[in-house]
């Protein structure tokens, strides 16, 4: 526990360091990366670590971390920089590294954090595809692709990447913070907050499992009244988002800034009616 706390205390330092190191963005340019679709439905990309490689990695939008095997970590000489080495090296875990130049195809991302480990599933994949593709040495995850506007197209077996300036926070650090705070105090309630004033009261009874929520009241002189919403309407979607609970509707309105115009689909007399609402500033 002491070690955990210590690493928590180090967090602000790490963040400051990252900020100081920030460089102005280059002009966004779109680059294409070809990928290899394999029979299990996964796809493989060619990766270089600080100019070393290329290595084969699986590209996984479901992976919040990037993984590299100890083999390529050694080959690319990044093992020495590893932090948070585990006491018991299960699955060959050797800690976390920040790869200065993480290159997928020709697309370069800076300071991509990666875990060094022998993931059993990656190993099984490697054995399966080694003959045809060479060994598979890890997984490209969120810390890489979050930095880009990305498209994935299986019909052309191509991805495109355009830098978008998105700064991804580290998932492990975030999780530790959440867990530590939930251990010392009661977790804060999750509240869905609208971004503007609509002038509506919504309701749904507990045993009502049908789509949508009921409009209970429309306040006079408001955005909802101006849009023609009426008490008794059943709100199905707000700006394309399902509103099947009152909280859902609040979440959906959280994305709609005052003055922005969005469509709202309601069921009225058995028919779907599309209205446009532009919420006002207020709460």
């Amino acid at each position: 526990m002491k070690k955990l706390l210590a690493s928590l205390l180090l967090l602000p330092l790490a963040f400051n360091y990252a900020k100081a190191d920030e460089k102005p963005l280059e002009k966004p340019k779109t680059q294409t990366v070809k990928f290899e679709l394999v029979p299990s439905g996964h796809f493989i990309v060619s990766v270089k670590l600080n100019g070393n490689g290329p290595y084969n990695l699986i590209f996984d939008t479901g992976a919040p971390t990037t993984l590299i095997t100890p083999r390529i970590a050694k080959d690319a000489k990044v093992v020495g920089e590893a932090k948070d080495k585990p006491l018991i090296p299960l699955f060959g875990m050797m800690g976390q590294v920040k790869i200065k130049e993480f290159t997928v195809g020709d697309v370069n991302a800076k300071d991509v954090s990666a875990m060094i480990m022998d993931h059993p599933t990656v190993k099984a994949f490697s054995q399966e595809y080694e003959k045809k593709h060479g060994s598979i040495d890890g997984i490209v995850g969120f810390p890489f692709f979050a930095q880009f506007k990305m498209t994935v197209d299986y019909s052309t077996k191509e991805m495109t990447f355009t830098p978008n300036g998105y700064k991804a926070t580290d998932v492990m650090q975030d999780l530790m913070k959440t867990m530590m705070s939930s251990m010392v105090s009661k977790p804060e309630p999750r509240v869905a907050a609208p971004a503007g004033l609509w002038g509506l009261e919504l309701a749904k009874s507990k045993d009502d499992e049908a789509d949508g929520v009921d409009v209970k009241t429309v306040f006079a002189g408001t955005a909802a009244a101006a849009a023609g919403l009426k008490a008794g309407d059943r709100v199905l979607t707000i700006d394309g988002r399902w509103t099947d609970t009152v909280s859902d509707a609040y979440t959906a309105t959280g994305y709609v800034k005052p003055g922005q115009t969005v469509s709202v689909v309601v069921k009225r007399d058995g028919k779907d009616v599309k209205l446009t609402v532009s919420p006002k500033n207020g709460l």
Binding site: S40, G62, A63, P64, L67, W198, S247
Partner: protein, 282 residues
């Protein structure tokens, strides 16, 4: 604690042996805007309805071979299982997208079980959308935007081939789901998935030269009951001074219905503290 990260690697599992996917991709080349959210674990979360039931929370996972969900869910929505595949009548993805007769796999993923037992993702996760769904679309991801863009492409996804781990399992990772369930019980961690609507004031506000002026007080609203008037300038909320309407929304954003909010307002030359009982509405 390091094993937590293993939850991230969703769905790099197997897929069932036999299958013959012959569904055409949707013909229209419309682009669908699919709302998504990043979970606390940095998974790309979209909502789906299966056979009209839901919404359920799924993760977009190119590392998974197919539409995968828990057995309980597959049963609940009336999926029909044959040769390892479960077929559904309809899969709807939030944003207006619909797939007829999709096939999926019903299996209890240890990663989802583990994350849900601790509430790690901040939302209860029911399954993943993998290759056999994703391959029908060109998908654009951009985390500076609030929606993904899905455009149907003409691609018939061949059946995913099963990769068999010699030991039959996932190399010892399966125990992690159960392990975290036990650990979270011991540690008293409870998942916290309930979302409350924020409380309602019922006042339209105008931001003028760093002053927040009440422009309209809705009739019958908590603001009216508490005695707020048009022209009042809101200076503080919960004891914090305000420079913009964003400051006010920020101060109030965690206050659910039924909580009270202390506002300091200036009416003419007079300064007043007004406490409002936040109500229902938006």
């Amino acid at each position: 604690m390091k094993y937590l990260l293993l939850f991230g690697l969703l769905g790099l599992v197997f897929s069932p042996a036999k299958a013959d996917e012959k569904k055409d991709p949707p013909k229209k080349a419309t682009t669908y805007e699919v709302p998504y959210r990043l979970t606390d674990t940095k998974h790309i979360h979209v909502r789906v309805k299966i056979n009209g039931k839901g919404p359920f929370n799924f993760i977009i996972d190119t590392g998974a071979p197919a539409l995968i969900m828990t057995e309980t869910l597959a049963k609940k929505v009336g999926g029909k299982t044959e040769d390892g595949w479960t077929t559904f009548d309809k899969l709807e993805i939030e944003g207006g997208l619909s797939i007829d007769k999709p096939r999926g796999v019903a299996i209890d993923m240890f990663q989802l079980k583990g994350m849900n037992s601790m509430g790690l993702a901040g939302v209860e996760l029911h399954g993943v959308l993998g290759y056999n769904v994703l391959a029908r679309y060109k998908i654009e991801y951009d985390f500076t935007e609030t929606k993904l863009k899905w455009t149907p492409v003409d691609f018939k996804a061949p059946d995913p081939k099963r990769i068999v781990d010699k030991n039959g399992g996932q190399g010892g990772l399966e125990m992690i789901g159960t392990l975290t369930q036990v650990l979270s019980m011991i540690g008293g961690l409870k998942p916290n998935f309930t979302v409350h609507p924020r409380g309602f004031l019922g006042a339209e506000i105008e931001s003028k030269d760093k002053e927040l002026v009440i422009k309209n007080v809705l009739s019958g609203s908590p603001a009216e009951k508490a005695g707020l008037k048009v022209g009042d300038r809101i200076e503080e909320a919960k004891g914090k001074s305000l420079n913009s309407s964003e400051d006010l929304l920020e101060a109030v954003k965690k206050l659910p219905e039924g909580t009270s909010l202390k506002l300091t307002v200036k009416r003419g030359e007079e300064t007043k503290d007004i406490t409002v009982e936040l109500g229902k509405g938006l």
